[in-house]
């Protein structure tokens, strides 16, 4: 079914997702060592997923004037890199499930999973470099600069997330959380796809910085909703173990908020729970944390905050994209702020 301005976000994601996945398959190597490398590399990309990042890149590029063919290689690169980082994230977070199945390291062991993730990350550059060859060397350099910037910011964000957990750091405020999310999530999820799409679509002439607020607010609302779903979502649809963030001691907005609202004795209790290794953390203590978040309104508060960010994203979209011609892709982008906070 062709995409129109009336298409729902889910329909566009499905359409662009299928196109991206079909092309992505062509980039995944086959042959020996199939069991040890190429099979594991194909595992996550073939499990499905929303294809939010590549769709965002495709739609932005088309809004700025690119054809679908011009932007598909970039979309494939983004999805490959996303999957590479998921493998590493799952190891770092000691996660059990990904997209409804056991995580890769649980299936094949951490050393092989790490290696598959590395290989997928290196592979991710190939489509975008080959695809942009016709754009000239200046454009390739700029694309690589964007890639480099995103990689550095994402690594910094992940480092903050992991470091806060390792050191059991609880003296955090909401702005600290949001800054971590900007780096850890937004650069790869929204900023990079949108900037890359605009760069390709405009032939390098768009003011990429003017897209910052829209992309950041959209990505932050997306992450907060993801954190909420981790606590109260539908397991089948969510695809990961519910409450996994609590088991992993992740510094989510709800946890930061709960710490703010807690008495000193409660903070001591929360800190002790977070200090317990994941395997030793009891179901009862995780359940207590979850109940406390519900009872204190932390989940509702996080939803409210995500709504505010989504509203700001919508405002920034109207401001930034108003001069660009109306199209089905522009309509899709305009619907994203609502979609990120309504998805279940």
């Amino acid at each position: 079914m062709p995409i129109t301005s009336d298409s729902t976000v889910a329909e566009v994601l499905d359409d662009y997702g299928k196109i991206t996945r079909a092309e992505l398959k062509n980039w995944l190597p086959k042959g020996d060592p199939e069991d040890y490398l190429y099979g594991p590399m194909s595992d996550y990309p073939m499990r499905g997923g929303r294809m939010f990042r590549p769709s965002l890149c495709i739609a932005t590029a088309k809004v700025f004037g690119a054809s679908l063919e011009q932007v598909i290689p970039a979309a494939v690169s983004i999805e490959l890199l996303h999957n590479a980082l998921l493998i590493h994230d799952d190891i770092e977070d000691e996660s059990d499930e990904r997209r409804g199945k056991p995580t890769l390291h649980k299936k094949i062991g951490t050393p092989l999973a790490l290696n598959a993730g590395d290989s997928l990350a290196f592979l991710s550059l190939r489509p975008i470099i080959r695809g942009s060859a016709s754009m000239g060397s200046d454009s390739i350099v700029r694309i690589l600069e964007e890639f480099d910037q995103m990689a550095q910011q994402t690594a910094e964000g992940q480092a903050l997330d992991l470091g806060w957990r390792r050191d059991n750091h609880i003296e955090l405020c909401e702005a600290d959380y949001l800054k971590m999310v900007l780096k850890k999530t937004c650069w790869l999820t929204t900023l990079f796809p949108i900037r890359l799409g605009a760069l390709i679509g405009s032939g390098g002439r768009a003011n990429l910085d003017s897209l910052f607020n829209f992309a950041f607010f959209l990505g932050a609302a997306f992450q907060i909703q993801d954190d909420v779903l981790n606590l109260i979502g539908n397991h089948e649809r969510y695809g990961k173990e519910l409450g996994g963030d609590l088991l992993e001691g992740k510094r989510t907005l709800m946890l930061v908020n709960l710490l703010e609202l807690s008495s000193s004795s409660e903070r001591v209790r929360i800190k002790a729970i977070l200090d317990t290794p994941r395997d030793a953390r009891s179901d009862a203590s995780v359940s207590w944390l979850r109940s406390a978040m519900i009872e204190r309104g932390c989940i509702e508060y996080a939803k409210e905050l995500a709504h505010g960010l989504a509203g700001a994203a919508s405002h920034e979209f109207d401001k930034t994209f108003k001069e660009l011609p109306e199209s089905s892709d522009k309509a899709f982008l305009s619907k994203l702020p609502s979609w990120v906070i309504e998805r279940s």
Partner: protein
């Protein structure tokens, strides 16, 4: 969990205090936190988003300046105005103007803060032409001397942050509020023991105006103070 615990005020932060966030109370003593959430969550989300965005923008600028990336004075992450290169459409001109305006406003804010933080004894004024002026500004255990070579009357204001004298310092080019004025370049920073000397040369053709630059740490890129030169002309 008791009602008493609910009403306990939030602990004082040891992390960076953000004024905008602090202005929006989440735990008012007259309301339960839950009720407060419903009232302020969405507004705070948008507020926090813009606040963190602005903070990132300033950090990006400082980093870009530290690495001497061309065009960094008005860019977020180092791409400068290259994205507008070769285009002269009205849209691009407006975008360029907007960015210059934003940058200028940031500088105005910076200068305003500098005036507020000014340390006594850190000013050096030269109203004589073809002469150098020297002034020593004590800071902590060490000392700073500014030396100005100028054919025009100038007033120099140097504000090191506490502890700056023990760091490895550098000074960025001093830029004017008027984006078209050439920057004052080549400020020399030398150290002899615990004494620092800043040498500033002002050319005869330097347009009158206020020029400001950041004193930075060569090791970690952190801001360690500021240097302002008011060129009075004549």
């Amino acid at each position: 969990m008791t009602e008493q615990a609910w009403k306990r005020p939030a602990l004082e932060r040891t992390k960076p205090h953000r004024q905008l966030a602090a202005n929006i109370s989440l735990t008012g003593s007259q309301q339960s936190p839950k009720a407060s959430h419903a009232m302020t969550g969405a507004a705070k989300g948008a507020q926090l988003g813009y606040e963190v965005s602005e903070e990132q923008m300033e950090e990006g600028k400082a980093q870009a300046r530290f690495h001497d990336i061309p065009g960094a004075a008005s860019d977020l992450f180092g791409s400068g105005f290259s994205d507008l290169k070769g285009t002269v459409s009205s849209e691009n001109f407006l975008a360029l103007s907007e960015r210059v305006m934003k940058d200028t406003l940031l500088w105005v804010e910076f200068v305003a803060r500098s005036v507020q933080w000014q340390m006594p004894g850190s000013k050096s004024e030269s109203n004589e032409t073809s002469k150098s002026a020297e002034q020593t500004a004590p800071a902590g255990g060490g000392g700073f001397t500014t030396e100005v070579s100028s054919l025009q009357p100038v007033e120099v204001t140097f504000q090191p942050h506490p502890g700056a004298e023990s760091r490895s310092l550098g000074v960025h080019d001093l830029r004017g509020l008027d984006a078209e004025s050439p920057a004052i370049t080549g400020v020399e920073v030398t150290r002899d023991g615990d004494q620092w000397r800043l040498r500033i040369g002002i050319g005869q053709s330097q347009p009158p105006g206020l020029y400001t630059g950041i004193v930075f740490d060569r090791e970690d890129g952190a801001i360690r103070g500021s240097l302002s030169v008011a060129v009075k002309g004549g």
